[in-house]
Symmetry: C2
Subunit: 512 residues, 2 copies
Amino acid sequence: MKANNNLRPRLKVRRVNLDTGRENVVVISRRSVALRPDVFRGFSRVELRSNGKALLATLLLTDDGMVEVDELGLADPAFRRFGEPVGTLVSVTPAASPESLEFVRRKIQGRSFSAPEIAAIIDDISHYRYSDMEVAAFLIGSASFMTSSELLALSKAMADAGTQIKWQRSMVVDKHCIGGIPGNRTSMVVVPIVAAHGLTIPKTSSRAITSPAGTADTMEVLARVDVGVEQMKEIVAACHGCLVWGGHVNLSPADDILISVERPLSLDTREQMVASIMSKKLAAGSTHLLIDLPVGPSAKLTTALEAMRLRKLFEFVGDHFGIAVEAIATDGSQPIGNGIGPVLEAQDVMAVLSNDPSAPVDLREKSLRLAAHLLDYDPELRGGKGYARARELLDSGAALKQMQKIIDAQGPSGVRTDLGTLTADVTAPRDGMVEAIDCLRFNRLARTAGAPIDKGAGIKLFKKIGDPVEKGEPLYRIYAFDQPEFELAQAAAKADNGYVIRTPVPGSENRP
Amino acid sequence: MKANNNLRPRLKVRRVNLDTGRENVVVISRRSVALRPDVFRGFSRVELRSNGKALLATLLLTDDGMVEVDELGLADPAFRRFGEPVGTLVSVTPAASPESLEFVRRKIQGRSFSAPEIAAIIDDISHYRYSDMEVAAFLIGSASFMTSSELLALSKAMADAGTQIKWQRSMVVDKHCIGGIPGNRTSMVVVPIVAAHGLTIPKTSSRAITSPAGTADTMEVLARVDVGVEQMKEIVAACHGCLVWGGHVNLSPADDILISVERPLSLDTREQMVASIMSKKLAAGSTHLLIDLPVGPSAKLTTALEAMRLRKLFEFVGDHFGIAVEAIATDGSQPIGNGIGPVLEAQDVMAVLSNDPSAPVDLREKSLRLAAHLLDYDPELRGGKGYARARELLDSGAALKQMQKIIDAQGPSGVRTDLGTLTADVTAPRDGMVEAIDCLRFNRLARTAGAPIDKGAGIKLFKKIGDPVEKGEPLYRIYAFDQPEFELAQAAAKADNGYVIRTPVPGSENRP
């Protein structure tokens, strides 16, 4: 039915002020002069064409006001992606599903994907040809089982879909954490240590989607993170490392789309997580990669067995593509450091790099351990000396100096970096010892307080697991700027403060 | 976080003129005085509360114009379902997913549903608590395998979710076709025959979703079909049968929601089809059910093996719930009758009932065969006499008289019943014999021409499989009212006329 676009009246582009997330959405009048929308009903997806451009979009109907009968309303991001000015004449036709959706249907019925099929799907997804529901069909259809070949093909296809960075070096090291632990900003300590040693570590990080901060959000407190590939290369040439936002570099763009659909559905498939991470590392040109796998009762991995299975998946993909992958299980039983939220986390990081006596010990120790693994990749370094070397670089101030150099190279970000002016302390309801801190709860609480939108919003923990507490003693402080959010966070903390405090057995310990 | 609804400013309800299909959608300003929408981003689903009412909805953002900073825009159908007037103050909170979505996640990971889990899911779905994407997750997660227990539980839960009709009779017969064959309006012949015999056959039918006509659309050419349960009972009491729209009776409302998501994804799972049909029959109070399973190259079932598997699923569910089910494979190699589209199909039906010599033989014969199966349920009738009795009722005019009675009881519909004024004949490109007619193609073609929105739009076939044709001889006629749609349909027919015409081997037959 594509042959006769010219037979129907075209519609004038209008911008509709509606943010529809990542999905292309267009609005047509129920009395449109083009094909009557009732006819479109059976299709729901339409294709726009103008000046050689084409766009697939989901169709909504309106009765009046929003668009005229001779207009086609383009919501954000459809308007931006179509890139034609208001008033441009476009033809609109009912759109069939992308052909690759047939592979998805077969997968749902139990077949496996071939590599070219996965490549076609990822190509369509990264060009916004899938609706959110079609993306969901791909993810869910693949969730119950994914073969080794599918995992490799998916990693490769996702890496191929975006920017691919080439480095003129034999060794490009990288680290990555699978996430879930509040305050876990080790990259911002590890990168300066490793870069100070002289290894190349061009770190790209994500922004928060549902968490209160991604490494890119926290680094932005100290420096600009939205740098392009060329500038990133210059920074790495000058400093051996960088800490930038991966989204601006456009590594594995399909991954961002898949994640935007996984999140609302809380889908969490191991193979998809591995493909997501490895595709970015492949595209980023990493040769040696350290994966941080936190294990804990409220972490993404709750048992050593789960961590081992995931480690093996990472190793399998790494081996196939010639990336030296090491995946290590770490303590994910509680938040790392004291701060949760960009400004508070940046303070922790700078305290560790400055050898401030009040710096959080767990953040320092974990960062040293991860840095040691990376430094041990250096053939020049004597076996087993990674940790000592990392500690030397941190204690001597070399790492701090390197961080300052990276910050200067990336330039100032201009974001507001003051701490939230509304504060409230949450206190211990009884005497005892901290037995557990719920990571999920604190991610949500810091987010409710305004992080990462307000960089200075978040939570500062005063007590960690094993600390004794007295009734009425502050457990943590909430920081916020916005009154309703502040009250919302306080109420949430009141309903469940996120701490488990074990009361000592009477007589077995002294009680005040 | 529900404890503190009163802490945040409430928003005023505004109606946003946007039809979002079946999904609840609300629009909030990016500068809203309630919680800032950036905070909502991580959630995407919100809960509205006012005057004891609650509604889950998907959130869209706007910069200005559409809603003010103190307003909450409710699109259709959210506005209708919330049922509060413009200006009502509502609280808006980020909404967690319905708890039953956790069962869906586990199913995706390979577990089976328990019956109470399925009941909880269907309850949430039928109360519009699932987003479209969450509905898709349920459907796709269940698509690759569904146990017998799951199939039974799903059929039961769907039946329980809506109206359940009780008949004070020991035998209530029904028929159902799985669809896919254009023009297949046998119900409109079968119901009057069976009702004329005196068996109770309260037929509820669907409207077209992506096809050019459902039986309810075609019946509406002759009579009103949107009758409620009570009136339906009166009609059946007077006429032994009826032909009404199931949607108005609210049988298995979850099914309509599931179908609205299955269609755009072209999901087609046997178990879901069986649960969908059987849930409606359970709710409708049927005791004896005949299922029509058309088999053909462009039908939903392409082999006898597929038809047998599906038959066994229907029998299994029927046996469990005490419904006598008979499922028979029928010829689905081409459209049934000559007309495709409501008015044309109604003409075929009335021609058969009137014993018009030009009536399509295939529609007559298939209807007689189906009616015979149903009549054979009557214990009063001598074994094997069903066909003869059906034919007697049709040939004598008793069926026509019964149809007139049903039409009178349902009353006039008031729809326009004239044929499309724009017509074009599509002719044979060469001499030969009709070897195949593509059902999918003709469904789409008639829909493109305007059916079922324009009752009089559609296709009239002049040639069926086995008919000899000469080059230039009309194969079918397109009827339309709308010029652009007329041209679109003609262009589509030009690109692929939907017929396969086999040229006779030269010399083996006479050629003109």
